[in-house]
Symmetry: C2
Amino acid sequence: MRARSRPARGALQGWAVTTPDDPLGWAPDPAFAAGSAALARLPLCDVRLQRDARFPWLILIPRVAGARELEDLAAADRARLMDEIVRAGHAARAIGEALGRPVAKLNVGALGNITPQLHIHVVARRPDDAAWPGPVWGVGSVLDYTPDQAKAARTAALRALNRRPRQI
Amino acid sequence: MRARSRPARGALQGWAVTTPDDPLGWAPDPAFAAGSAALARLPLCDVRLQRDARFPWLILIPRVAGARELEDLAAADRARLMDEIVRAGHAARAIGEALGRPVAKLNVGALGNITPQLHIHVVARRPDDAAWPGPVWGVGSVLDYTPDQAKAARTAALRALNRRPRQI
């Protein structure tokens, strides 16, 4: 079982390291780099922040080689994933608070029709957002974060994911 | 802890009863009746079959009063939910097979922007379906099942949910 250790001293800034190594054969699909940025590493999942200021939006990618569906995870990893989805929900809420847009509803989705590597979207929603009440996927055009917004979003998300935040 | 008993003799036909009572204060939102039909009862969730022949589509509704988000469930119920999501995925695949349209990808979503009572969609997708590669929610018009299709879908889904199918 993986230890849920606190981030080691010297860990990459802004990167909540809890496991030092990737499983053999696992790497994130390069497609994720186009729309999101690496944010943190949880016991099971890499966490990425979607580069879209319209919605506080995290992506969890379990570090399990070949996984495409939830059923491809072992039971223990499915339980870890559920825990990390809840943690990502706290982080998405924290981003909303940090940007002055408190969150009304979380949307969680595992789709993968375009990028089949198993990944879970955790998106914070408000009735005044750009897609409400529909889903966010494929809707409208991405709105870039300003540098200040991006920094505030990352700081808030990492604080929520880590509880004890690291300086970033 | 709830027992995962096999369906009792005399249980309602087509209703995989594993718990006899609803928790105090819980009832499914009446909005679900408009688009879906009761299918089965799993240890945590009521399972409904969406009345839309375009997609094999199940809805899981945890019988937990007041729950709107995954974080509102106790950890044990979150683990049950993950198990039931996987079972519902098997059932959605089984519907696709029964209707001659084997499934390429499962989509799992907990949105609730319109009906906030916690519920999870489990939808089977194919590259030739009516919404691919986008999400299914809010897309196009519902296509009714024929009576024969609906019977085949229910039978296949119940067989997959129950493993030991009941006569329906």
